[in-house]
Symmetry: C2
Subunit: 216 residues, 2 copies
């Protein structure tokens, strides 16, 4: 039996792979673990059958035998702990890779999502023109710090890890903001992640859901 994850039945980003199932798909592809996908509608996500799997009514979830998990970070960490390929063997390096997972979710993602949400939902508000530069600057601060740490390296700390996987998926949300153009080394880092065969397979799988839905 393969694990089953959930994903949006109807892709909000039209298959650009920015929903959080992408992280889990990518992790499963990196470690070579086949998986099943159950698509969930926005309506069904808020119904009891899904809430029992995910208390906040979101995707992705992960079911494997008697285990049910939610939160993409927790699912990716669970996969990384049980398969080779996403965490270093050395104990210190392993802890540091996990620290980058948390940094992606706690330090980078909040200002990146806040900017993205404002660009989507506050464009017609009176305060948009004044708030936008403030939100962009918050993201720029983090990108500058990340760039300084990355330096000339390919990945954040040694070999590619679950920390890079999470970080790249967070940074990809900036594609429409134009901010990555200001940090060519960060843009190149994201491109390295996107060029990995496992990323491509995961991306194509989530795109196929959108393509099939838009044909039907």
């Amino acid at each position: 039996m393969h694990p089953t994850i959930t994903a949006f039945e109807s892709s909000p980003d039209r298959g650009r792979g920015q929903a959080r199932d992408m992280r889990v798909r990518w992790a499963l592809e990196e470690v070579g673990q086949p998986y099943n996908v159950r698509l969930v509608s926005f309506k069904a996500m808020k119904e009891p059958a899904h809430i029992v799997l995910h208390p906040f009514g979101q995707i992705p979830t992960y079911e494997d035998g008697t285990l049910t998990l939610f939160e993409s970070g927790a699912i990716v960490l669970h996969i990384a702990e049980r398969h080779a390929g996403l965490l270093p063997d050395d104990a210190n390096a392993r802890s540091r890779a996990i620290a980058w997972m948390f940094a992606a979710l706690s330090t980078l993602e909040p200002p990146v999502v806040e900017l993205g949400m404002a660009m989507l939902f506050e464009r017609d508000r009176s305060w948009y023109a004044e708030r936008l530069p403030m939100l962009q600057d918050r993201v720029r601060v983090r990108l500058g710090e990340l760039s300084r740490r990355l330096g000339a390296a390919d990945w954040l700390d040694g070999a590619f890890s679950a920390g890079d996987l999470m970080m790249v998926t967070v940074l990809r949300r900036l594609h429409t903001s134009g901010l990555l153009d200001e940090y060519p080394d960060i843009a190149a880092y994201v491109a390295r992640g996107e060029a990995r065969p496992a990323f491509r397979r995961a991306f194509d799988a989530q795109l196929a859901v959108f393509t099939a839905a838009s044909r039907s």
Copy 2:
């Protein structure tokens, strides 16, 4: 040799224990691990000697022998993995407790911090009156979902875990917002966390830093 953590030399919340070193202190107290604290000024946090420990120039950091870590979530998880008392023995329950750590940081903390930042820094902006209810409602949605899952239980999933520790520290940031009053079961959950002897010891230790600084 005990591990060394960093904390603010000058408490921005005047010793209310909302800085992120509080999570690490609490975790160390729960598992009975003594620790050293190195206080860092806002200026020193942005200087090379600290940036090498924390790429984003923040606190807390964690140093233990040859290991240096940043991100409070990663540090708490590292402590929980190496000491009994913060994660269940059962593998599935352990993964679920870690999922609650990620939920605290990824799903609860962003809207909670966004509300807190707006209340601190946007009070005099033209948009404050219009945005505040929107930010409050985003937090209410999560508190309602959390309350539904908690039900009549003391903790989120079985015994107290690192997941509860992280969640309580995030929810404590709502004390000044008044929103916890609308969810008595969540307020009681936070109070249960704050009543734990390990929490009290951690709280008193960070308060002592502020008290000493304000006397000098």
